[in-house]
Structures are given as structure tokens and as C-alpha cells.
């Protein structure tokens, strides 16, 4: 049994998921499932956080390490994913109950999807990656379409599913090409074969392009992003929170690992490597995301486009990994952690702003809310400023580290573009604050009444704590990210 210890966090989620299914049945739906789920997720986060600061385990059997890594990089993402999922399930605890949607399977799906996300982040083999990817994706499709009676939610789920299958197929095709070229599915072996020059170049290049397309879909890089606004908007807001933090972190985790380990050396430098390719994707993604977000009237949809813009910044960080592995990897990890807590905070505040029958989604719904309910306003304020990258919040240092890694990797022009497009971002983020504090509801318009839920409040306090903590003492978290990065790049 002891040899399973390095994957204890994964087992924790599996057993919790199974236990909750039984619990739900035997208590006839009366158990406090959000509470149990959160405890399980936080326990998983705690296990991995403890392992993150402990010496690396030795003698891990090959049947684990061949498929799942036990390095600090994976542990770091265990923590981020489990924390993100815990925040999402806390928010669900408030949201679903308030809107009369609470059913046990939601939490089971969250747990299994989080499991898939962790498997992805730890995957060192294309097959494990695909299994994790599908475990995550199938769970999330159901979470998006969870509100079965809503045509909008169903439509969003179907769209997401169809396009997701398309992306999976492209990914799988890419994986097949790589396997055909190298005869391996393990990232490291693939890298070794390519470095030795034994792989047919054409297959490798085409395979790489298809893998990038498949993972580009998951991180919602333009032009593979189109599902994002519809799915984010149609899904229950707690699912939106889950998707924007957990799915994004897992996809970026495996994206970075696959490129750095499997396609290093010649392919990670120069004009013909993936960094140059990702730079183009990053430029298109951040500009498109920011511009499209400006035109939105729904806060939820704006956050969807803003998540595309953030994917653009992250892709820029990923592109810098080729020349500055340590700086860029740690910057990306920090950014993902910061984005997880900040975005959960803003979506949580949005959930908090609505109550039964009156869900707040548009800017107009938020008019004057900050003055009527200072606590809701404060949650929005902190979260939005962090997404905007305003010091001293987590988001500021996230941007700072990613942009400075890009500058160190000689991508000055791209960094200027990133800074300019995030200035456009300030426009729609500040609009939230303008509505909260400077506008009053229109005559006769429904007035948003925040729900009363200690789950939501706890989630917001937790998220806000990390947003401020990561902004006030960023060095501590960057050190953890650096340690995690060193696990990947040696």
C-alpha cells in the first residue's frame, strides 16, 4: 500500500466521490454534500501541499512513474486544482441550493472532474493524458448541462460536447502521428527519440501542430475558443467557476509539461519551434479576448472573454519557456494560482449578488450594489482589481512575473502588446466597479438582493485571503512555484 502514497491525493478524490454517491443515496439527499466535498478536496490539497515541502519520494514503482509523475510540478497543480475545485463546490453549495438545483451528482461530478484534472497535470504519457482529459471533459460537459430544464444550458452543453469531441479527435490524431514517428507515448521517450534524430521530421511537426490545436481548445486559445462564451454563460455559475479555474489550470499544466519534456531541444528554440507558434497564438488570443470582452453586457460573458485574454497572457508565458525555462515556468504556475483564486472570487461575488429567481448576470444587475451591500462590493473590488493586475493583489504579481519572463526571453514587442491589451482589459473590469458604486438601478428594474449562504461567504473569504496574501507576500508563493518548476525542468 505504501507505494501508492505519492498518488494519495488522487485516491482521496476517487474514494470521496464513491463515498458521496453512497452518502447521497442513504441519507436521501439530506447530507451536507458541499461540506463533505470541500473537506475531501481541501484534504487532498493539504496532502499535496505537505508533500510539496517534503523531500521527493524515492523508490516509487515504475507502474506509477511511467504514467503519472510524482514530481513537485504535479503536486503544485494538485494543490491549485483541489483548491479551485473546493472553491467551486463551496460556491455550488450556495448557488444550487438558492436556485433549487441541488442534487447529489453535482458534487460527485466535481470530484471526478477534479480527479481527471489532476491526472492530466501529472500525466507523463500521451495515453494517461488522454484518459485524464476525457475524465475531466465528460464530467464538465454534464456540469455545463446540469440545469436540464434550461434550453440555454442544454444548448451550451451540446455545443461544448460536439466541439470538444472534435478537439479530442484532433488531439488523438496528433498523438497517433507522434507515436508513429517515435514509437513511444511517454513524453520523455518521445523527446529522446526526437533529439537523437531518429524520428521522421514531417510526422513530428504535423503531430505537434495537432497536439497544440487539441490543447489550444482546452485552454480556449483563439481560434479554438468559440465554445467558451456560450458554455460559460449557459452553465450554472458555479460550473463556470469550476471550468475557468480547474479546466484551465489542468490544460495549461499538461500543455507546458508536454512541450517542455516531449518537444525540447531543437523544437523549443528558434523560428521554427513551438515558442514561435505559441507567440502567434498568444498575440491573437489576448487581443481578441480583450476586445471582445469590451463589447459584452453580461458580466458572465465578459468573464468568459476575459478568461480567453488571460489564456493569451499564459500562452505568452508558455512561449517564454523555450528560452527561459525556470523563470517562465514558475511565472506560469504563479499566474495560474493567482488566476484561480481571483476568478473564483469574482464569480463567487457574482453568485452572491443574486438570490432565488433573481440571478445577477449583467452589469445592470449590479447597479448600486456596492453601496447597498458593502461586503459584496468589497469581494468584487478585490477580485476585479486582481484580474486587472492592480497591486497589491495576486493578479498584479502574476502579470509581473509572466511579462518579465517574456522580456527576459527577448519577446519585448510581444510584452508591449500584452501590456497594451491588458490596458484594454482595465476598461471592462473597471466597468464592473462603475456599476457597483456609481450607478443606481433603473426605475422599475429588478433590484439584486444578495443571497444568504455561509458556503459562499466562506469561499469568498478563502479566495480573498489568497488574493491578498499572494499580493502582499508574493515571494513565498513564487518560491513554491520555482520549486515546482525545478521538478519539471531539473
Amino acid at each position: 500500500m505504501m507505494e501508492l502514497l505519492p498518488v494519495a491525493s488522487l485516491l482521496m478524490l476517487v474514494s470521496a466521490g464513491l463515498a458521496i454517491m453512497l452518502l447521497d443515496v442513504f441519507t436521501k439527499g439530506r447530507a451536507e454534500l458541499p461540506f463533505v466535498t470541500t473537506i475531501a478536496l481541501l484534504a487532498a490539497a493539504a496532502i499535496s501541499a505537505a508533500a510539496l515541502f517534503a523531500p521527493a519520494p524515492t523508490d516509487v514503482p515504475a507502474f506509477i512513474t511511467d504514467y503519472l509523475s510524482v514530481d513537485k510540478y504535479g503536486l503544485f497543480f494538485d494543490v491549485v486544482i483541489a483548491l479551485g475545485a473546493a472553491l467551486a463546490s463551496l460556491l455550488a453549495g450556495g448557488y444550487l441550493r438558492e436556485h433549487g438545483l441541488e442534487r447529489g451528482e453535482y458534487y460527485v461530478l466535481i470530484l471526478f472532474s477534479a480527479l481527471g484534472a489532476m491526472v492530466m497535470a501529472r500525466a507523463v504519457d500521451l495515453l494517461t493524458l488522454f484518459v485524464g482529459l476525457e475524465t475531466l471533459s465528460l464530467g464538465v460537459y454534464s456540469l455545463v448541462g446540469y440545469r436540464r430544464t434550461s434550453a440555454r444550458a442544454t444548448e451550451a452543453a451540446v455545443k461544448y460536447f460536439l466541439l470538444g469531441s472534435f478537439a479530442s479527435a484532433i488531439f488523438l490524431f496528433g498523438a497517433a502521428l507522434i507515436y508513429g514517428a517515435t514509437g513511444h507515448t511517454g513524453f520523455r521517450s518521445i523527446g529522446e527519440v526526437i533529439a537523437a534524430g531518429h524520428a521522421p521530421v514531417m510526422l513530428v511537426l504535423l503531430g505537434l501542430a495537432m497536439l497544440v490545436a487539441g490543447l489550444g481548445f482546452k485552454v480556449s486559445a483563439v481560434p479554438f475558443h468559440m465554445w467558451t462564451p456560450d458554455a460559460y454563460e449557459g452553465a450554472p455559475t458555479s460550473t463556470t467557476a469550476f471550468m475557468s479555474v480547474v479546466v484551465k489550470s489542468a490544460a495549461f499544466a499538461v500543455f507546458l509539461r508536454l512541450l517542455a519534456v516531449g518537444f525540447g531541444d531543437e523544437l523549443s528554440r528558434g523560428a521554427g519551434g513551438w515558442p514561435a507558434l505559441l507567440t502567434i497564438l498568444a498575440a491573437v488570443t489576448m487581443v481578441y479576448g480583450n476586445l471582445a470582452a469590451v463589447a459584452q453586457s453580461s458580466v458572465k460573458r465578459m468573464l468568459a472573454y476575459s478568461s480567453i485574454a488571460h489564456a493569451g497572457y499564459l500562452l505568452l508565458g508558455l512561449a517564454a519557456v523555450g528560452t527561459k525555462p525556470a523563470e517562465a515556468t514558475s511565472a506560469v504556475l504563479y499566474y495560474l494560482a493567482a488566476y484561480t483564486v481571483s476568478n473564483a472570487l469574482v464569480l463567487g461575488a457574482l453568485i452572491w449578488s443574486g438570490s432565488h429567481g433573481k440571478e445577477a448576470t449583467s452589469y445592470a444587475d449590479l447597479a448600486g450594489l456596492g453601496r447597498r451591500h458593502p461586503a459584496v462590493g468589497a469581494a468584487f473590488l478585490v477580485g476585479v482589481l486582481s484580474l486587472m493586475g492592480f497591486p497589491p493583489t495576486a493578479g498584479f504579481f502574476g502579470k509581473w512575473y509572466v511579462f518579465s519572463a517574456a522580456v527576459q526571453a527577448d519577446m519585448v514587442g510581444m510584452t508591449i502588446l500584452a501590456v497594451l491589451s491588458s490596458a484594454v482589459g482595465a476598461f471592462y473590469y473597471l466597468k464592473v466597479l462603475v456599476y457597483l458604486y456609481m450607478k443606481s438601478p433603473e426605475e422599475g428594474a429588478p433590484v439584486a438582493v444578495p443571497m444568504k449562504s455561509s458556503y459562499v461567504v466562506f469561499a469568498l473569504v478563502l479566495a480573498a485571503y489568497f488574493v491578498m496574501k499572494m499580493g502582499l507576500t508574493p515571494a513565498r508563493y513564487l518560491d513554491a512555484a520555482l520549486a515546482a518548476a525545478s521538478g519539471l525542468i531539473g
Partner: protein, 928 residues
């Protein structure tokens, strides 16, 4: 002390954190309806902080008793950030709190008096709508003040300094529905901002001198080695010491926060805030922050006699000016406000004459009696339902109605007037002694005399106006009493309309109001006994306690024997006479009187001037505000039309339109989405199939190295001189006899024939000359766009002598150039030309081209080769050779791409028979 519940360090942290917690709970969590909880949490947390402060202070006392010279409790939380100094040194900014003898006492005052005023506010603000907001601000103020006091370094102190300023602004404008009140808040904020600039500048001067932000190290350096402080300010031509500049900047901050001339004007207006705020912030604690800062950095201030002189004079002038205004005012809080300004003048003047300890002693005693006076005034106003302020001529006889208030008010008046035996007497005496010691010292100074006389006079006026206030308010009969009610037919709960007088039936406040008054009144009497004059060998606890944290002038330490008793007697005599005289005069003029028989005797003009506060506000309005307002209007218009309208408006429009366009592809149809993805995949594949060439140049010693960007499956063909003569032979990475290392590279050897082109590099620096002139095949005029020497020469401006000189050289002729096989031909056409420093006359037959014979007659051709310098007029050019190095890249799929980079050679390469040279000068971006 193992028996303690918590460590002293944790207690220190809690002292700061508890009020912050209170502010958060009251401000964000609780609502105005939750009065019950607010009433417990707000005073409770501050009270708890007070208990912890006492707990820590006892520990400090214990340390002192155990023989520690500098008792302190330090808590280092974390490093906030660190600055990189020029030279590479790191300057950490820590979040560290330190409680020593000085900050310990101040903490006691802030939390102790803070608690009392919180309790008082429970009663005073009980009918307020925004009850929770008020207490949240008050808590936040307490927290900020504690950060200010307990910070161990300047930046953290500045956080508190700004925090109290913010809270002061919020609380003055607490009733912001009233425009005047809101304006008063703004005025305070602006005046303080001016001062804050000084603090920042002073802070950086201190870093310059001491290389540290920490008070402890700055002070240690200032006490031990004066060198770095007295050296002159690092700006050439300024003969001022660094200490003077730093102190004057810091003092600017003090004049803002501690309401000194010329920035004192905000404090009287600040009385618009609720009375407990006036008591806590604008009398007892915040306004003394400036004095606290000067005491904190006293060793630095002692290094600048000039700054000390300025401080002493400004303090004295403030004390006098404010006292003279207070003498004629009508409203309770206004009188108390000017009295506060005046007393702050005393404290500042004390620091100016080097009696820092005395100044801080006055801070301490003043906190008690002034808080008591304000709360007393508030109690009277509460009793008669006066809102905002109360006119003393409509009061009178209040001693019947508010008994505890009356007694505590009387005691505090005696204290502030400096009646012997009361607290104010001792602290004021110390200050006067400091001034007298300077006046009668070895180098008897004018400043010392000025301060001594000025402060004595101010003390006399203080005693007078305070008792004028006392007699008119508490003695005689109530002038808004029942008879007024009959006349005006008012109902008994008319809420104090000023023109009709106040509530005719005053009522005493509850225990919440009387308890703090009683405690503060007792303090007003007793706290002075902590610092009995040590000249008479009385026990002076204060001096001994402050010894560790406040610097003294040599010979004036708490243990130094005073040899010359003259200043002692002089100070005490003047102080006593001033107090008794002032009280006596007020008794004669105002006891049991209804009318103001005194002020009518002042000449009308002078009275108006004094009543209008010497019209300082109007003076500032005319001299500073009006021009600024005019400027602001202009800037505002520019901003609205140009910046907002055109720049921002246009940008915003462009962004919105492109955002709208971006959403057009988001049709909602899965087909469209799938199509988009397919395009994306195709794009990626296209990108993977096509090669991407990039070429960079590196100079290693004498050798030029060309690097091509590597790519998977690429083969490369280098063409070192871009003449396409080399075989297009594609070689892959690591193929053949070459080992390319990490990237494919090529080391070309250049001979003279390899230069593809030539250019003239401009060596003379002039803002309007370009760096280089590219030379083409045919003859071209050597011309600089934007710099026409023919017209520039007509009226040569000072900075455009170049054109003038050119015209001398060119004699209004065109200089022609063209490129040849091995260099550049130049046709001067009569201009003065020198090659490598030697004047050269063009040979008439130098032109090889027959078609230019006509030109040849007017001036021949000079042939220049690479490396030669040519001077035309006063401009130097150097001829350089240019080589376009190229790489062709072919991908595994067969596509090809080319990249070129331009290499400019510094020296002439040899002809093909000699040894090749490789020195490169500049490298330009590849031209794709």
C-alpha cells in the same frame, strides 16, 4: 515570563490588529441597524488593545527597572519589499513594529484616550443614522494611528501617517450631506497632502544620509557619527547640510499634520466633524503626530541648528497667532480648535529649542485636558441639542445642568491655563525653561528670547480665553432658557436653531458621557506630576523614562545638574504670572456676565481682523487658490476637449468597434465554430510545413559568426556576402565536417571585394543629422531631410550653427556622391573638403564618367575608400563597407525561406590576396 497568557510580541501585533478587525467588522459586516453589536465591538476591541498596551508597558517598565538602557519590544513580521539602491545595495522595507519608551507612552495615550472617546461616542452618536460607519472610521483611525506610532521605520510610519489623514478626512466630512462639512474635509486633506510631500522628500534625504529606513539605525548613526548628516546636500552649488534639508522637509510634513503656520488653516474647519472626532483626532492624537515624528528623529534634528531655529520661530508664531484668534471667537469648538493650534505651537516651539522631551510631555498632558475640554463641550452641546457648534453667548449657567461636565471642564481649564500644580503647568514650565535656557545660555540667542517672550504671551492669552469660555458657558444664567421659549413660542424639543437659541431645558448626558469626562478630568490634574521640575531635585520620572528614545542638548539631560538657576526661576515666574494674570482678567471681565464687555473695547478694525482669523484664508484664496483655479480651468478644458474628447474618445470608440467586430464571428452556430477550428488547425499545419528563417550575427573577437535559427528538419545554405555566387548547397544540422553546436552557424571570411555596398557614417553629433547616409549607384546630392543648409544659413540660430558652417563650406553648391565598385565618389563642387584631416582639392580630371564632363569642369571627383574620414564643412563622415549576409532555409517538406542581415564593416578588408579581416561594426535587423 512563562506565566503570561501571550507573549509580548503577540500582544504588540494584537494591539494593531484588533482595531483593524473592528473597522472591518463594523464597516463591512455589520449594518447601521446592528447598533447593539457595534456598541460592543468598537469600544471593546480598542479597550482590549488598551489592556494589551498596558500589559506591554508594564513589561517595558520592568525592563527599565532591571537596568535596560533602551527597553523595547520588537516584532518583525516580514519584509514588505526591498529597494535596489544605486550601487547594488538592497534596502529592505520591513513590516516591523517596535514599542519603546516613546512609542509605548504614545500607544497608551492612543488606546487609552481612544477607548474613553469610543465609550463617549456611544452616548453622543446614539441617534446617528450611520452608526456603524462612524465606528468603523473611528476604529480605522485608531489602527492607523497605532501603525504610525509603532512602526519601526519610515515607510511603515508613512502608511499610518496617510491612514490617519484619510480617516481624518472621512470623519470631518462624516456628515457629507452638508456641503460646508464636506469642503472642510477636503481642505484638511489638501493641506495634509502638501505636508505629506515633505515627509516623502525628508524620508529619501534620510535614506541618502543613513542608508536605512529604520528609526533605530538612523538615530544611532545620527548620535554616533554626525558625518553623513552634516555633509552638504549633493546638489552642486547648494551649501546646505543634508540634515537641514531633511529636517526642513520633515518639518513641512509637521506643519501639515500638526497644524502649524502656514498650513494650520484646516484644523479650525475640521471641527465640522462630530465632537468625539474633534477630541480624539484633532486634539489628542493625530495632530500630535508631527511632534511625535520630530521627537522620534530628535538626534537628526539636533544636527541642524538652522532648521531648529525655523521650527522654534514657526511654533511660536503659531502659538501667538492662534491664541489671538481664540480670544475673540464666539463658538465653543472654534475656541478649542484655535487653542489646540496654539498649544501645538507650544509643542513645536519646544522641539525647536531642543526641549524635545518637554514638547512630548506637553503632548501627553494636552491629550488629557484637551480631550476632556472637547468632550465637555460636546456634553454641553448634547445637553442643549446644539448641532455642529455652540455659541457661548447663547449659553451660560450650565453648571446647574451638567454638573460633572462643569467640574471636569473647570479642572481642564486650570490645566491648560497652566495653573500651578495642574498638569499643564508642569509641561508648559518645561517648555518655557527650554526657551529660557537657550535665551540665557552661553551664546544667548535672539531666537531663545523670541520664543520665551512669545510663548509667555501666548500662555497669558490661553489662560484668558479659556476662562472667558468657562465663565460665559458655565456661570451666570442660561441665555436660551425658558423665557426665550415664551418669546418665540418654541416647543421644548426645538433642535437648536442658532437664530433662536438652544433647547431651553438642557439635560445631562448618560454614564457613557460622564465616565470618560471624569477619567480625563482626573488625568488633567494628575498626569503632570510625572514630570516635576528636576531643577529642584523633585522626582522627574518623565525625563528618565524618555532618556532612551529622545535626544537632549548637551548639558540638558535628565541627570545633568543645572548650574544656572536663573532660567528656571524666569520660566516658572513667567508661567505663573501668565496663568494667574489671564485667569484673573477673565474673572473680572466675564464672571457672571451676560455681555462681552471686553471685545467691544478692541478697536473695530483690529477686532474684525482677529475675528476673521487675520483673514489668512482669504489671503491664501487670493494668492494661491485663484491662480491655481484659473490654471485648473485651462487644463480642465484642454483635458475635456483634447484628451477626453479626441484621444480617449477616439481610442474608446476604436476599441468598442473592434470589440463589436470581434463578437460578430460568435454567431452561436456550431457549424461556424467548427469551421473556425478547422481554419485554426489548417493554419497550424501550414505553419508547421513552412520553414521560418532567421539570421543573427555575432562578433567573436575578430571573427564574424552568422547564426541561423534552428528548426526541426531544416537544411541551411549560408551565403556570407549575399552575392549569390556561392553554391546553394543545403546542409543540415550536424551534417558534413562542421560541428554546429547548439545552432547552425557559419564563419565567413571577408575580402575587399565582398562589400556589397558602401555608406557614409556620420560622426559629428547633431540632433538633426542622421547616423548614416546610404549611397546609391548614381550621383545623388548629399542632403539631409529637414536640414537645409542653404536656408538655415540665412539666419543661423544659436543651436543651428551647423547650417551656417555648411554654407561656408558649400558656398551654396550641392555636394554630390555615388557608390562605386570599391568605395564612394564625392564631387565637392567647390565645397571645402578634407580627407583624413588634409584639405584636398578635387582633381579636375578625376571623373571617369564622360557624361559628367560638364560637372568636372566646376570641381572634380574625390575617390574615397573604406575607413577614410572625410570632412565637409564641419561635419565628419567615415566611409564604411556593407555586406548583406544571407541564409537560405529549406524545411523537411521542401519549402524554402530566406533571411538577410546587414553587416557594416568598421575597417577596410584586405584585397583577396591578403589575410582576411572580420571586424564588424553594426548589425541591422534582417531585411526579409
Amino acid at each position: 515570563m512563562s506565566g503570561d497568557l501571550i507573549s509580548h510580541e503577540s500582544a504588540l501585533l494584537l494591539i494593531v490588529v484588533l482595531p483593524i478587525l473592528g473597522a472591518l467588522i463594523n464597516g463591512l459586516w455589520l449594518r447601521a441597524e446592528d447598533k447593539k453589536y457595534v456598541s460592543v465591538i468598537a469600544p471593546g476591541l480598542v479597550g482590549l488593545a488598551f489592556l494589551l498596551a498596558v500589559f506591554n508597558f508594564i513589561h517595558l517598565l520592568g525592563l527599565k527597572a532591571a537596568g535596560s538602557e533602551d527597553p523595547r519590544i520588537t516584532l518583525h513580521l516580514y519584509e514588505w519589499f526591498s529597494l535596489q539602491l544605486p550601487g547594488g545595495a538592497e534596502l529592505p522595507v520591513n513590516v516591523t513594529f517596535a514599542m519603546d519608551s516613546l512609542s509605548g507612552l504614545m500607544t497608551l495615550v492612543v488606546t487609552g484616550i481612544g477607548t474613553l472617546i469610543h465609550i463617549y461616542s456611544l452616548g453622543y452618536m446614539s441617534e446617528e443614522k450611520s452608526y456603524n460607519r462612524f465606528f468603523a472610521y473611528l476604529n480605522l483611525f485608531t489602527a492607523s494611528m497605532l501603525i504610525l506610532v509603532l512602526a519601526s521605520n519610515l515607510p511603515l510610519m508613512f502608511v499610518g501617517w496617510e491612514g490617519v489623514g484619510l480617516c481624518s478626512y472621512l470623519l470631518i466630512g462624516f456628515w457629507f450631506e452638508n456641503k460646508t462639512y464636506a469642503a472642510a474635509g477636503r481642505k484638511a486633506f489638501v493641506a495634509n497632502r502638501v505636508g505629506d510631500l515633505g515627509v516623502i522628500m525628508g524620508m529619501f534625504c534620510l535614506v541618502l544620509a543613513a542608508g536605512s529606513f529604520e528609526f533605530e539605525s538612523i538615530n544611532a548613526l545620527a548620535s554616533n557619527s554626525a558625518g553623513s548628516f552634516v555633509r552638504s546636500f549633493p546638489i552642486e552649488g547648494l551649501q546646505v547640510s543634508l540634515a537641514t534639508v531633511a529636517c526642513l522637509f520633515l518639518f513641512l510634513g509637521v506643519t501639515g499634520k500638526s497644524a502649524q503656520v502656514p498650513l494650520y488653516i484646516w484644523l479650525p474647519d475640521a471641527m465640522a466633524g462630530p465632537t468625539p472626532v474633534s477630541a480624539l483626532i484633532h486634539a489628542a492624537t493625530m495632530v500630535t503626530a508631527g511632534v511625535y515624528l520630530m521627537c522620534r528623529l530628535s538626534p537628526v534634528f539636533l544636527h541642524s541648528p538652522f532648521a531648529m531655529g525655523v521650527i522654534a520661530v514657526v511654533g511660536t508664531v503659531t502659538a501667538l497667532l492662534a491664541a489671538s484668534i481664540a480670544v475673540v471667537q464666539h463658538e465653543m469648538k472654534k475656541i478649542l480648535a484655535y487653542s489646540t493650534v496654539s498649544q501645538l505651537g507650544f509643542m513645536v516651539a519646544a522641539c525647536g529649542v531642543g526641549a524635545f522631551s518637554a514638547g512630548f510631555f506637553h503632548v501627553f498632558t494636552h491629550a488629557f485636558f484637551k480631550a476632556c475640554l472637547f468632550l465637555g463641550a460636546g456634553s454641553v452641546m448634547h445637553a442643549v441639542h446644539a448641532h455642529g457648534d455652540a455659541d457661548i453667548f447663547k449659553l451660560g449657567g450650565m453648571k446647574k445642568y451638567v454638573k460633572i461636565t462643569h467640574w471636569t471642564f473647570l479642572l481642564s481649564c486650570l490645566a491648560i491655563a497652566g495653573f500651578p500644580g495642574f498638569s499643564g503647568f508642569f509641561s508648559k514650565d518645561e517648555i518655557l525653561y527650554g526657551a529660557a535656557a537657550q535665551a540665557l545660555g552661553e551664546h544667548g540667542s535672539v531666537v531663545g528670547w523670541f520664543v520665551l517672550v512669545g510663548l509667555s504671551l501666548a500662555a497669558f492669552m490661553t489662560a484668558f480665553y479659556m476662562f472667558r469660555l468657562y465663565f460665559l458657558t458655565f456661570t451666570g444664567t442660561y441665555r436660551s432658557g425658558a423665557h426665550g421659549d415664551d418669546e418665540h413660542g418654541h416647543d421644548s424639543h426645538g433642535h437648536g436653531h442658532d437664530d433662536h437659541g438652544y433647547d431651553p431645558h438642557p439635560h445631562d448626558g448618560g454614564w457613557e458621557i460622564n465616565l470618560p469626562l471624569a477619567v480625563l478630568g482626573a488625568g488633567a490634574v494628575c498626569v503632570g506630576w510625572l514630570g516635576l521640575p528636576h531643577a529642584f531635585h523633585l522626582p522627574n520620572w518623565w525625563g528618565g523614562w524618555m532618556e532612551a528614545s529622545i535626544a537632549y542638548l548637551p548639558g540638558h539631560g535628565p541627570h545633568d545638574e543645572i548650574e544656572n538657576m536663573m532660567p528656571v526661576y524666569l520660566a516658572m515666574g513667567l508661567g505663573t504670572i501668565a496663568a494667574l494674570g489671564g485667569i484673573g482678567l477673565a474673572y473680572v471681565l466675564y464672571n457672571d456676565k451676560e455681555e462681552d464687555t471686553f471685545t467691544t473695547k478692541i478697536p473695530k478694525g483690529l477686532f474684525n481682523l482677529m475675528f476673521d482669523k487675520w483673514r489668512v484664508d482669504e489671503l491664501y484664496g487670493a494668492t494661491i487658490l485663484r491662480p491655481i483655479r484659473a490654471l485648473a480651468r485651462i487644463v480642465g478644458n484642454v483635458d475635456q476637449t483634447f484628451v477626453d474628447g479626441i484621444l480617449a474618445g477616439l481610442t474608446a470608440r476604436v476599441v468598442s468597434v473592434s470589440g463589436w467586430l470581434a463578437t460578430r464571428v460568435q454567431t452561436g452556430s456550431v457549424h461556424a465554430y467548427g469551421f473556425g477550428m478547422t481554419l485554426g488547425v489548417l493554419g497550424l499545419l501550414w505553419w508547421a510545413v513552412n520553414p521560418h528563417a532567421e539570421l543573427t550575427v555575432e562578433v567573436v573577437g575578430e571573427q564574424v559568426v552568422l547564426h541561423a535559427a534552428p528548426g526541426m528538419g531544416y537544411t541551411y545554405a549560408f551565403d556570407g556576402n549575399g552575392n549569390n555566387h556561392s553554391q546553394r548547397q543545403f546542409v543540415s544540422h550536424g551534417e558534413g565536417d562542421r560541428d554546429w553546436g547548439s545552432s547552425p552557424d557559419f564563419e565567413p571570411h571577408y575580402f575587399a571585394e565582398d562589400c556589397n555596398r558602401f555608406l557614409l557614417s556620420v560622426e559629428t553629433e547633431h540632433p538633426r543629422l542622421p547616423e548614416r547616409v546610404d549611397v546609391g549607384e548614381g550621383w545623388q546630392v548629399l542632403d539631409f531631410p529637414g536640414l537645409d543648409w542653404r536656408t538655415d544659413s540665412v539666419a543661423p540660430a544659436e543651436d543651428e550653427r551647423l547650417g551656417f558652417l555648411w554654407s561656408l563650406a558649400g558656398r551654396e553648391q550641392d555636394v554630390l556622391i555615388r557608390r562605386t565598385q570599391d568605395g564612394i565618389d564625392l564631387r565637392p563642387n567647390g565645397a571645402d573638403v578634407a580627407v583624413d584631416g588634409q584639405v584636398v582639392l578635387a582633381q579636375a580630371d578625376g571623373d571617369a564618367d564622360g557624361e559628367h564632363d560638364a560637372h568636372a569642369a566646376s570641381g572634380g571627383v574625390i575617390h574615397l575608400t573604406v575607413g577614410q574620414t572625410v570632412t565637409i564643412g564641419h561635419v565628419d563622415f567615415v566611409v564604411r563597407g556593407v555586406i548583406d549576409a544571407t541564409v537560405h532555409v529549406r524545411s523537411a517538406f521542401g519549402g524554402e525561406d530566406t533571411a538577410t542581415v546587414e553587416i557594416v564593416l568598421e575597417s577596410a578588408p584586405p584585397p583577396s590576396q591578403g589575410e582576411p579581416t572580420h571586424a564588424a561594426l553594426t548589425i541591422r535587423e534582417p531585411a526579409r
